[in-house]
Amino acid sequence: MGADFDKPQGFCVKSGRVQRARGSKLFWLSAAEGRQKSFRMMEKMSEENSEDVRVLEAQIEHLQAEVAALQRQQQDNHKDITFHLRGHMQDAMSYVCGQKQAGEKEKVLSKLTEELEEDLKLQTQMNGISLNSCTTKTLQSSGRQLVQQFCVSGHCSELVFQVEFLLSEVKKGQRSERTIRDLNVVMDTSDLQNFSSFLSGVEESTDLLLFFRTLRTFSDRCDDRRRTFQHFQEKYPSVVSLPGGCRSAVMTLNHPELSGCVLFVHWSVEVSREGRVTPKIELLTKIPEKALQLFPSQAVSGAAEAFQSLLRILGPEAAVESVIMAVSLSQDT
């Protein structure tokens, strides 16, 4: 045939110049031309494909690096226990990020949150302590040990506090040991002189629970005093006055017609360094010398000691009331 199998270039399609021959040769030439065109197209496609593949592979490598960095960031986020979400909270997160279907997510979370609100009300009532904020920071989170820094603020009746401490939990077998370190207590102790010695002691011994037990007891005793003072001021307004307000330690008793003679009921609530809360009630008298000279009876000068005996026999409220009755020169017994 004379055709050279290995060198089809003889057809010269590359330059696009085709010698159009006549007759059957024309047919053969265009068929060959067609085939060459497919060759070229497939070659181009292969070139495009390998170009695409290279581009895609580079893109994928870049994306994998991005995803790895984001996953590391997410792992760091999960170390923050406050926001390490599980269960319904995780579902809610997925929903917000557009992953899951709307459904009942908000309703379920709303119901769960409501239950937590109820629980918080219950704990607040039962514990006698109102917390308004608790923030935590995870300082260390290895397999066996967790160290968190807490900042808790709230109030116990009228007493406002803020405590900061480190809580460390170490897993020892089945149980985990919890320890408090670095306790710092902030309270407005301007009118709590007898509390500050206790506070410094409790910070030293990092006895967080003792602080709260004592705070609550101290608050209860102060509330007892306030209730009693307020009750008597309402019942005997002409005789009883509270110069320092109802939360102060002093109640004055004074008959309006005997302006110079005043009796003071001094009711202090003392807190020992150990955390023991002791109410102490004393009766103090301010009676002018002239009056004492006119009435040198034991009843007037020995009032303070007499009151202590009354206290022992009748208890605080009844003892105070009998003194009030005496001052008001009332005929009732």
Partner: protein, 290 residues
């Protein structure tokens, strides 16, 4: 005739051409591109998902911080943080959820009673936490019936703690804390004395524990005085069970004059005012005991 054979030649040629090309470069099938495109898209979705989660996490943190500020500064009118999201309601709910969980956790840590209502409101479960000097110790539990009246149905309080009499003396029907607070005081004092005894045994091997009781209300220790090597028997009585300091300290020694010496009178006060394991450290430092 020549056409037919030339046709055969041409098709043979194209076949050879393709074979030659396929030997030079690997087969670039379009499906490989599709495969890679799919992989890239999956990675893009994953990346976008992660980005969204991290952004939401940031929003939650900011929202929670603003809510915490609002709660601590009740007088100041803190502006509610504006959230740039169509999910603002849900995000607020999520932030509040984390806040509540933290507050409840705080109630537990500060020694709260962890009250749980049980049996559809007919019962109550109370937990009493004990701790000493920052170390959390035993937990004790009470199960109570609410109807017809509040009463204790089950407990794991040790028998030497006067639970029954505390309940009788309390006003628990109107205020359950009049039972729980004294009970917690007793339990914590007991836990403290027990812990002090444990620390004496651990830290002061030279001091012998001669006697102790279950309630840890009595402790008899044997000291050795350096130089003379005399033995001093020290009795600590803790008659007030709500305290973890002794109410009476007594020394017994062959040397009858020792308890009245100024050093040992000081030690007597020290033991009355300082927890025993700490007092012993001071006494060792002063050279009074070995």
């Amino acid at each position: 005739m020549a056409g037919a054979s030339t046709k055969g030649v041409l098709s043979h040629l194209s076949l050879l051409e393709v074979q030659a090309r396929s030997r030079k470069t690997p087969p670039q099938q379009p499906s490989r591109v599709k495969e890679l495109k799919a992989k890239a898209e999956a990675l893009m979705t994953q990346r976008d998902q992660l980005k969204a989660e991290i952004e939401t996490h940031k929003s939650l943190q900011k929202l929670r911080a603003s809510m915490d500020k609002q709660c601590t500064h009740e007088e100041e009118e803190e502006e509610e943080m504006a959230i740039d999201s169509e999910n603002s309601q849900l995000l607020r709910l999520m932030a509040r959820h984390t806040q509540l969980k933290d507050l409840l956790h705080a109630h537990d840590i500060i020694g709260g009673y962890n009250v749980i209502k049980t049996r559809k409101g007919k019962g109550l479960c109370v937990s009493l936490t004990t701790a000493y000097n920052g170390v959390y110790l035993e937990n004790y539990n009470l199960e109570m019936d609410l109807k017809p009246t509040l009463r204790i149905s089950r407990d794991n309080i040790p028998p030497f703690i006067p639970l029954k009499s505390l309940a009788e003396q309390s006003n628990m029907q109107t205020d359950i804390r009049t039972l729980l607070d004294p009970l917690s005081q007793h339990l914590n004092a007991f836990a403290a004395r027990k812990q002090q005894l444990k620390l004496v045994k651990e830290l002061h091997k030279s001091v012998q524990v001669m006697e102790s009781n279950a309630l840890c209300s009595l402790l008899v220790l044997m000291f050795t005085v350096p130089r003379e090597k005399t033995a001093v028997l020290c009795s600590l009585e803790y008659t007030d069970h709500t305290r973890c300091l002794p109410t009476r300290v007594h020394f017994e020694c062959e040397d009858k004059g020792l308890p009245d010496s100024p050093e040992w009178k000081k030690n007597s006060s020290l033991l009355m005012e300082t927890p025993v394991h700490k007092a012993l450290i001071t006494m060792k430092k002063m050279g009074d005991i070995v």
